[in-house]
Amino acid sequence: MTKTENIRNFSIVAHIDHGKSTLADRLIQMTGGLSEREMTEQVLDSMDIEKERGITIKAQTVRLDYKAADGEEYVLNLIDTPGHVDFAYEVSKSMQAVEGSLLVVDASQGVEAQTLANVYQAIEADHEIVPVLNKIDLPAAEPERICTQIEDVIGIDASEAIHTSAKSGLGMEDVLEAIVTRLPAPKGDPDAPLKALLVDSWYDAYLGVVVLVRIMDGSLKKGQKITMMRAGATYPVDRVGVFTPKMVQVDELGPGELGFLTASIKQVRDTNVGDTITTERAGADEPLPGYQPSVPVVFCGIFPVDAAEFEDLRAAVDKLALNDASFSHEVETSAALGFGFRCGFLGLLHLEIITERLEREYDISLITTAPSVVYKMLMKDGTEMEMHNPADMPDVMKIEHIEEPWIKATILVPDEYLGDVLKLCQERRGVQVDLTYAGTRAMVVYKLPLNEVVFDFYDRLKSVTKGYASFDYSIDGYEPGNLVKMAVLVNDEPVDALSVIVHRDKAEPRGRSMCEKLKELIPQHMFKVPIQAAIGGRIIARETISALRKDVTAKCYGGDVSRKRKLLDKQKAGKKKMRQFGKVDIPQEAFINALKMDS
C-alpha cells in the first residue's frame, strides 16, 4: 500500500492528434513501465481499431513509478480517456476517479471543440488542471497565442503551461514534476471500511471479467469477500493488481490507488459502472454517489446480408455487448430484411466502430439501416411512447404530437469557413445560440435537432471546412416537431428498412435526394424499376431506373466456356452482397448511402 501523500492520479485531456497517446507512451517509457522491446506505438490503445484510427475508445489505466526531484518515490496513476464526443460518458466516469488533468493542446492548432468539452468535464470534477503545450518544436508553434487562447476560451491560468514535444521527449521531466508538485494527493482513510468506485469493467478471455477500481477508503485484498452495493451481489476476490500497463498482481490496494480485481464474475452486465464495492462483512453503510447511466441516442437496424448468418450475428453481437455496456441490442424483424437487431449507440462513431468490428472481427457482411434517434410520441389517449424505429410508427390519427431530441452543438472554425458552417446549420434546422471569436477562429453554438445530425452532419461539416472545424455536442432535451414518416417504394413495394422520420418541410428535398441516390445505387435490371418516396399515400418524389437493353456476349465458343462460367460465378458472388426485395436486388451499402446528402 502506498501512502496517499505519494500518490497522484490524473487523466489527459486532448483533441485527437494533439499528441495525447504519444505523451502517454513517453511517460510510460520514462518511468520504465515497459521495456524497449515491449514499447509499441500507442501502447494504451489495445484494439486494432483504436490503433488504426488513432483514437481511444475504452479508458485504460497505467501506474507509473517515479522518483521525483524531492527524492521521494511517487506512484502516478494515469487514466487514458477517449477524446470523441460519443464516448463522453467514458470520460466523465474516468474523471471522477482522479484528482487532476493534464490539458494537452497542440501549440500551433490551439483549443478544439473536443478539448473544450472534455476540459469542462475535468473542471466539473474539481480537477486541478496543468496546461501542456505540445509539439512546441514545430515551426508553426505559437505558444504565446495559444496560451492567451486557453485563458480566453477556457478561462484557466496558462501562464505556467509546460512546453513539450512528446515526439522528441522534450519537457517530459517537467510534466512528471508538475504532476507531483501541482496536482493534489488523493484523500482517504486506510482504516475505514472499504469503499471502492467501480470505474469500468471488461471481459478478458483468460481472466473473465476484469474490474477497474479506485479505492476511496479502506483496502482491497485478495481473498476478501466483496459486495457490489447497488447490484447486491457478493464475490470472493481472486486477484488484485495494477497496470504497468501489463497486469501485475499486488497484495492489496489502499486509499487513492487505482487497480483491478477479478472475482469469477461471468458477465460484464453483472458489474454496474459507478457502483460502490465494499467488504461483505463490516462494510460501508453509504455508497459513493456513482454515475448517471449512459443512454444510447442513435439507433439503427443491423441485419446480415446473408439471412443464414443471423445466428452468427447474434453470437457476435452478444460477445461485443459483453464488453460494452453502452451498446444495446434487441432482435428486430423487417419485412424486407428478415431477422436482425435494433441497436442503440452513444453516437455515430460508436455505431461505425461496432459495425466495423462486427464485419472485421466476426467476418459478417452487414446491412445497416438508416440511423434514427429516439422520438417521443404523445398519444391522443394521454399515453406516451418512445419510438426507436420508423417502422414502428403508430397510426398518425392516434398521435397527438411527436417530440424529437435536440442537441447543443459547439463548433470551432477558422473564420473563412464560418459562412459555410452557418449555412449548414441553418439547412439542418439549427437555431443559433452564440457566436464569439477567439483570435481568427469563431466559436458557434447552435441548437440542432439530433435527427438532422445523425446522418452525415459531421461529414458535411468536415467537407465544407476542409477539415478545419471541430465539433462537439451535448443532448439538450426534447421539443415538439412537425415530423412525418417518409416511406420509400422500390418497384412499387415499400422497403421498410429505407423509411425515415423527417421534418415536413424537409420531406420533399429529402425524398428527391433519396430517390436520386437510389437510382445511382441500385443496378439496372431486366425491367424498369420505379423508385418513389411517399408520405402516407402521397408520392412526393419519383425516379425510374431504366431497363437493361443489352447484356450478352457476342461470341461464345468452345474456348469461352470456362471464362464465361467464372464470370457468372463472380456475378453470383456479387449478388450475394445484395438483398432481394420483390424482384429487385438492392446492394447492402445502399441503405446507408441513400441517406447521404450532397448539399
Partner: protein, 386 residues
C-alpha cells in the same frame, strides 16, 4: 451414371488452333500472333503428334466435325491441313458426312489456296468479311477491300459446298439505318450461313486503349439493341433466322461444329491456347494448352499436347456450362438434361418470374430464352442461377 454418356447427346468434334496472322486486328483478343517465319515442318509434326495423343485417350470415337480456327488458318500450308485431316481419319473414325470447316481471310492470296484446301478435305469455309464498306474495313484493321472480299467469296462458293461469312456491326459511328442497308447487301451475297457479331471492346486490345482515351465511340446500348432487333427481323424475313445469338442459317445449314459447343458435347482442342471438353473415365474435364505459340510448340514436343492443365468439372459446373451455352440457341436447353448433369433442378420460382417478365418460355422440359431474353442473356443467367 448419366454423365458418362452425356456428351453423346451433342457429338464429338476436333478443334485445331492456328495462332498466326498476317497482322493483328485492333479489336481482336483471340490468341493470334504475327511471326515473320514459321517453321512449317515443326508445326505440322507437332499438330499431328498432339492429335495422336488426344486420340489415344478417346479411342473408338467417331469425329463428327473438324474446325480450323485461329489466328488465320487460311495461312496454313494446304499440306499441313491435309496431314491434320489424314491423322484424324487414321486415329479416330471420321464420319462420312463430317463437317470440316476452315476460317479464311477474304484476300486473293488465300483464295488461291481454296482448291488445295478442298482437296485436303475441307468442305466448309467461314470468311472474315467483317464489313461491306471500305472505310470501316480500314478502321477495323482489315487488309482486304470490299471488292476483294466479294471476289474471294465468289471463288469460295464455287469451290466449297458450304460457305459462311462474318460481319461486325454496331461499329463505331454506325447507325441503325446504315446497318439495315448493309445487312440487306450481305443477305443478297450470303449462301446459307451468316455470323453477325456486335462489336465488343475487349480488354487488352488497341480498341480498348482508344475507347479509354475517348477516341473510339460505340453506339449506345439502346442503339445497339435496336440494331440487334433489326437484325433479327431482316434475317427472319430473308429466310436466315438466328439459331444462336450471333448466328443465322438456312434450315439444315447450321454450323454443326459450333453446335457441339452449344449443345455441350465433347471436343478436343489442339494447338496453342486451345480449350477442350472431354468425358474421360474419371469424368468430364476441361483441357487447356499453352497460350504462346513457341511455348506450346516446345511443350508439345515434350509431352505431345502442350498441356497447360486439366481440370475436373464438378457436376454443378457442368450443368451451369450446359445452360449458359445451350440457352444461346433459339431451341433452348433441356431442363431434364440440366438436372441429370448437376443433380439439382433450377429454382421453379425463378423460372416463373423470368417467364412472367417475357425473358423465358417453357415448352415441356425445354427452357427457351425469348428474343428479349437472349439480348439480356448475361443478366438472365445470373438471375436464373442465384
Amino acid at each position: 451414371m448419366s454423365g458418362v454418356t452425356d456428351w453423346r447427346k451433342a457429338g464429338f468434334g476436333v478443334y485445331i488452333h492456328w495462332p498466326f496472322c498476317a497482322a493483328k486486328c485492333p479489336y481482336c483478343d483471340f490468341n493470334s500472333h504475327v511471326r515473320r517465319e514459321v517453321d512449317q515442318t515443326r508445326w505440322r509434326d507437332a499438330l499431328v503428334r498432339a492429335l495422336k495423343a488426344e486420340a489415344a485417350r478417346t479411342p473408338g470415337r467417331i469425329v463428327d466435325t473438324v474446325f480450323f480456327g485461329g489466328g488465320t488458318p487460311s495461312l496454313m500450308p494446304p499440306e499441313t491441313v491435309a496431314a491434320v485431316i489424314e491423322t484424324i481419319r487414321n486415329e479416330w473414325t471420321l464420319a462420312s458426312d463430317a463437317e470440316i470447316t476452315l476460317e479464311a481471310n477474304p484476300t486473293s492470296v488465300e483464295a488461291g489456296k481454296f482448291r488445295a484446301f478442298s482437296a485436303a478435305g475441307v468442305n466448309r469455309v467461314s470468311m472474315g468479311v467483317q464489313a461491306l464498306n471500305d472505310t470501316d474495313l480500314k478502321a477495323l484493321g482489315r487488309m482486304h477491300s470490299v471488292a476483294e472480299a466479294r471476289a474471294a467469296f465468289e471463288i469460295a462458293r464455287s469451290v466449297f459446298d458450304r460457305v459462311s461469312f462474318d460481319l461486325i456491326y454496331a461499329r463505331m459511328g454506325q447507325g441503325v439505318g446504315q446497318w439495315r442497308a448493309e445487312l440487306r447487301e450481305a443477305l443478297d451475297m450470303a449462301v446459307d450461313h451468316l455470323s453477325l457479331y456486335q462489336l465488343t471492346i475487349e480488354a487488352g486490345t488497341r480498341f480498348a486503349d482508344l475507347y479509354r482515351l475517348g477516341k473510339l465511340k460505340k453506339p449506345t446500348d439502346e442503339a445497339a439493341a435496336a440494331m440487334y432487333d433489326a437484325t433479327q427481323e431482316i434475317c427472319e424475313e430473308a429466310g436466315m433466322p438466328a439459331y444462336e445469338i450471333s448466328n443465322h442459317a438456312r434450315p439444315d445449314a447450321q454450323s454443326r461444329h459450333n453446335l457441339i459447343y452449344w449443345h455441350y458435347g465433347d471436343y478436343v482442342g489442339v494447338g496453342p491456347g486451345a480449350h477442350g471438353r472431354l468425358t474421360l473415365e474419371r469424368g468430364r474435364v476441361a483441357t487447356e494448352t499453352m497460350l504462346a505459340p513457341e511455348a506450346w510448340l516446345e511443350a508439345a514436343e515434350r509431352d505431345a499436347i502442350g498441356s497447360a492443365g486439366e481440370t475436373a468439372i464438378t457436376p454443378e459446373d457442368q450443368a451451369t456450362e450446359y445452360l449458359l451455352m445451350c440457352l444461346r440457341l433459339r431451341e433452348g436447353a433441356d431442363l431434364a438434361r440440366y438436372e441429370a448433369l448437376g443433380g439439382a433442378a433450377l429454382n421453379p420460382a425463378r423460372i416463373a418470374e423470368l417467364v412472367g417478365d417475357g425473358m423465358l418460355e417453357q415448352k415441356g422440359t425445354q427452357l427457351i430464352a425469348t428474343a428479349q431474353g437472349r439480348i439480356l442473356l448475361n443478366a438472365l443467367l445470373a438471375k436464373l442461377l442465384t
